[in-house]
Amino acid sequence: MRMNLKGQKKIINIETSQYPNWKICLINELKNLNSNNVEIDCNDIDLSCTDILELISIADQYNCKIISFCSRSIKTIVSSQSLGYKSQFIIKKPSDNTLKMNEKNITFSKSHFHQGTLRSGEYLDSPGDLLILGDVNPGAKVSAEGNIIIWGRLLGIAHAGSKGNSQARISALHLRPVQLRIAKKVARGPKEKPQLGIAEQARIDSDEIIISPLDAT
């Protein structure tokens, strides 16, 4: 919580780390306030127009006039600006909190999405999950450190969990690969034709790669 003197104007920093929600934080701050003009620092909190109207009415009850808003959330800035308040967007500093979010983003962007058919001789590798919208033809190979999902036919070679993740799975609308690999396990594809129209999934179960209909898992 931060209270700065800026001429006559007081800055109220609403945050939810010490309070169950921002409203209680705001009311507590207003109780201890000895100025009528306030700026609200909304931190990372996303506020809609209705939230901001509510915020203003709370401030009214304590005879406070809100001069301006500042926030790190674009949504809050847009809401406050649309209600005619002076608003300042604060660019996020890499605090601990945002660092965690960045890490999350990185793992998300590791996933790979490919649209189109992979033809013989082509090879696709992903450091995360791999989603393919198209067929994997015989002679083509796909591998991923995470799961592989194929919205199409798998007729080539697929290797999920290529860095050793034995929880990885391979799913396809039509699973008839030449060879399947999950982590360090290798299996030859099923010889019998799979039933049409049933998506299937391969995973490791008691040290063996098994294939089962996708909806049964």
Binding site: T117, S120, G121, E122, N137, P138, G139, L155
Partner: protein, 271 residues
């Protein structure tokens, strides 16, 4: 002067599936429709398009000499003896294997574009430099394959390479179709092939012993209006290439029926 020349690459990946035979017959068929056509033999290491066309003894210069300005283009072009609309240009000499670069190919094709309606490029087998050179100058492609697993696999590889080089449209010709074997499911069916390759089918060519005879004679089947099943298929492909809507033959009908059996009997006895 032709303004909208179509430069078509005829390729397959695997060797021996019928690239050169298709190039020769397609060239003749297009020429007979009155279109000025050039066939460029990009497979100059093992060149035999000239053999199929019966023009081996007329070759004096190749594209190599044209580019080195040792001769003019019209000196290197070999006009077909019976079909004057068709010209052959060998890309190079079998002894000079590494002279051709993708840029050379573009220059040759640009020269040919000024005179011809169609430029058919007979691509070498494989996916190495020879293929890359031949591909460099092409706008569209015909992929030839047989109903065999290995040919389909190689065609798939080639199609992938064509796609990454933005060559389109890519169309498919399924060569050496044996209707009886297909009916008995001893051969990959048309659906099996098109399922994997996912290309529009430009045509089927039926297996025909006369192809061998015509190759050895140096007279493409389509040159003489013989009653050969393969020749009809080649003619249909040429017409479809021109935009005519001709239905594909149905191998199931070809394999059964008295007429077909009789024709088969006739054809095998004649030669």
């Amino acid at each position: 002067m032709a303004t909208d020349t179509r430069v078509i690459l005829i390729c397959s990946g695997k060797g021996g599936v019928g690239k050169t035979t298709l190039t020769a017959n397609l060239g003749i068929s297009l020429a007979r429709q009155g279109l000025s056509t050039a066939v460029l033999d990009a497979d100059f290491g093992l060149r035999n398009l000239d053999l199929l066309l019966g023009l081996e003894n007329r070759i004096v210069y190749t594209a190599q000499e044209v580019l080195e300005e040792e001769c003019r283009l019209d000196q290197a072009l070999v006009k077909h003896k019976k079909e004057s609309n068709l010209s052959l240009l060998p890309a190079g000499n079998p002894r000079m294997l590494d002279w051709l670069k993708p840029d050379d190919m573009k220059r040759i094709v640009d020269m040919l574009k000024e005179q011809f309606d169609y430029v058919l490029i007979d691509c070498p087998a494989g996916v190495e430099d020879g293929f890359k050179n031949a591909m460099a100058a092409s706008q569209e492609a015909i992929v030839v394959t047989n109903p065999e697993v290995s040919a389909v696999r190689d065609a798939d590889r080639v199609i992938g390479l064509l796609n990454t080089n933005a060559i389109k449209p890519v169309q498919l010709v399924l060569n050496r179709v044996r209707p009886r074997m297909m009916a008995n499911q001893e051969m990959l069916s048309i659906a099996d092939v098109t399922d994997i390759l996912a290309l529009p089918l430009l045509g089927l060519v039926l297996e025909d012993e006369q192809v061998i005879v015509s190759t050895n004679r140096g007279e493409p089947l389509t040159l003489n209006s013989v009653n050969s099943p393969a020749a009809k298929c080649y003619l249909n492909i040429a017409k479809r290439l021109q935009g005519e809507d001709i239905p594909l033959i149905n191998p199931a009908e070809e394999s059964s029926g008295f007429g077909a059996k009789f024709r088969r009997l006739m054809q095998t006895k004649i030669f």
